[in-house]
Symmetry: C3
Subunit: 170 residues, 3 copies
């Protein structure tokens, strides 16, 4: 099995920058698998900021829903960066797709990859319990998704203010 | 003094699963001290999910308020799991009991136990400051409770995506 | 360059207590640079609580906006504690000042200090994405500020339930 990593942390903790460096260290050119869709101006700006930071050593695939297909199709020599799992999860939940089954399929797909894959996710469960039921469901789902992916990845890192803490293996 | 552990982490970070494994490694049968009450369907479902994961090696005590009494009464040979402190805290605050005094009593009770005790709590203070004053008070209380309990426990662990980081001792 | 530390963690995680001990270990008397203003009774109470914990070995400066000036003016032999960066950030944003430029100036000022400086900040990005746009902007800004300050500090610590995890250097 090729190397796999799950990189987690809070918003703007430097996860993507750390993840990009890890992927480029595994091989170049690399494949960037984007899960975000530009639904509004704020999200478009955020996507543009992420893209402007990446250089010509990256090829971009868009996979707001079918992440397993994107991983299978890109499974050559090049390392892949998936950024990020929590946006993919919210896409699935907003489309009322069965996120739990898709998370299980993703775990199995990641475990079967021949080329390396680095997955970025978010910590969303360390604040006050949200009053909104959908937000609570999302927060629970994100935690379960992160646990499932961490279990199949070789490495798990928590990024704090731009610096990584290795959580798995220890 | 018997071994004591405080296990913290975000929602659905795998704290309870890790805590249960720690308790069963300390001895079987074990005692599960539940603090949650099923006020609504969502909470009932969450309690049922937790219970279904535990097997016959567990005896369950309910202690939504009088956690010190539950610890004293169960202080034999069997290790105890308290799941969780943040729900106990919200029970106390909703009942307008003096949570600070009860937290102090709990710390003293834990420090005096003859049999092992593992306490699960939650990180609730790493999001945006809540607009709601009660939520801010709860968030502050949970942080202070966690500090107090960590001070009397032999070990403190932070669980991230199902994997533990040891915070105390180092 | 004198020793510099960034200390982060959730609300009521024990960051200030840990930071104060670090500063006093670097030299006494020490300078406390406060960024909070007492806008309401709740904040006044929080400030009073923090002050009551500090003894006569501290001299206090108030710097709700001009933190760089306070650092330059206090740059003698005594170690300085800045508590905290996230309140300074919210002061700047509420006053509609250019926080990004001021964060960059602060990073350069910290890097140029002759006497030690310990900076306390907060983790605010590990909860659910806030519905409020200003809260999202603040959360992003805090993450970026923390990354920038961590990059110029010698040490970065994450405090969990009163106990520190060293994140940088490793």
């Amino acid at each position: 099995m090729a190397k796999s990593m799950l990189i987690t942390g809070g918003a703007r903790s430097g996860k993507s920058t750390f993840a990009e460096a890890q992927v480029l260290a595994l091989g170049q050119p690399a494949v960037y698998i984007a899960t975000a869709e530009a639904h509004d101006a704020e999200m478009a700006q955020r996507i543009a900021l992420h893209q402007s930071r990446r250089g010509p050593e990256w090829r971009t695939l868009n996979a707001p829903y079918d992440l397993c297909a994107a991983l299978r199709e890109s499974d050559g020599d090049a390392p892949r960066l998936v950024d990020c799992l929590t946006i993919w999860l919210s896409n699935l939940m907003l489309a009322e797709r069965d996120w739990a089954s898709e998370a299980e399929a993703l775990a199995e797909t990641v475990a079967a990859q021949a080329a390396p894959v680095v997955l970025v996710t978010n910590e969303v469960g360390a604040g006050i319990v949200p009053e909104n039921a959908l937000a609570r469901a999302y927060r629970d789902a994100a935690g379960l998704l992160n646990q499932r992916m961490a279990a199949v990845c070789d490495e798990l890192w928590l990024v704090v203010s731009g610096y990584p803490l290795k959580v798995k293996p220890q």
